[in-house]
Symmetry: C2
DNA sequence: TGTGACACATCGTATCACGAAGTATATCGC
DNA sequence: GCGATATACTTCGTGATACGATGTGTCACA
């Protein structure tokens, strides 16, 4: 998948991954894998950014002697998903523009 | 529109704007305006990049005493549009993932 | 004992959209 | 004739950001 195309959906995608249940980095990667592959360095960068933007909150919790950081979506985060949904409607009309075939003899 | 989301479609969009007929910078901006606003600095950067990538060719031509650079799409350019079309199918399924509502009581 | 899964972190790099500013010509109103 | 506006292309600097490489540490299993 083209990197530039990926860029636009990553934030919304990560937020969507924790939309229903809190989750942690490693799990998020596994959940998204069927749809979209992303490396750990990329994900943690995104999570940090979303935290700074107050779209999610973090809580550390030990699990089998290993640290896990659970991420919880905020209202701002949900709003971000909604914004993505709206933007995507525009994208769809641009997609039509890009892929339309020239009809008749103009 | 979110810049990151825009990034992914810009190249394909510009190529689509010259897909049927050769065109020049100023005209391309006007044609795309109903779908997508972009500044001159952005467009010319993209055109240069697409030329380097051999997705289009350029020919200078004088018009009313002013220089115009006409851009012509190549086979590689058309292939790029096709690639976009394929990638977009993936994007659609990710869109489903992002926007799906949790059903029943899980 | 070592290999692989789990889990998170940091650093450097390359890509890229865009605003700002510049150059130059043509047209139109006053 | 003069200023404003449209046409047309260019260059520079900056900020955002995905990702590979690399590192830290734990746990399970053979």
């Amino acid at each position: 998948m083209d990197i530039q195309l990926k860029r636009g959906i990553l934030d919304a995608c990560v937020l969507a991954a924790i939309k229903n249940d809190d989750s942690y980095g490693y799990q998020i990667i596994k959940d998204m894998k069927p749809y979209l592959e992303l490396s750990e360095s990329t994900l943690y960068t995104i999570l940090k950014r979303l935290e700074t933007a107050e779209m999610l909150t973090v809580r550390s919790q030990e699990h089998d002697g290993r640290l896990r950081k659970y991420y919880h979506i905020t209202e701002k985060g949900r709003a971000r998903i909604e914004e993505f949904r709206r933007d995507f409607q525009e994208i769809l009309s641009i997609y039509q523009f890009i892929t339309r075939e020239e009809t008749e003899n103009e």
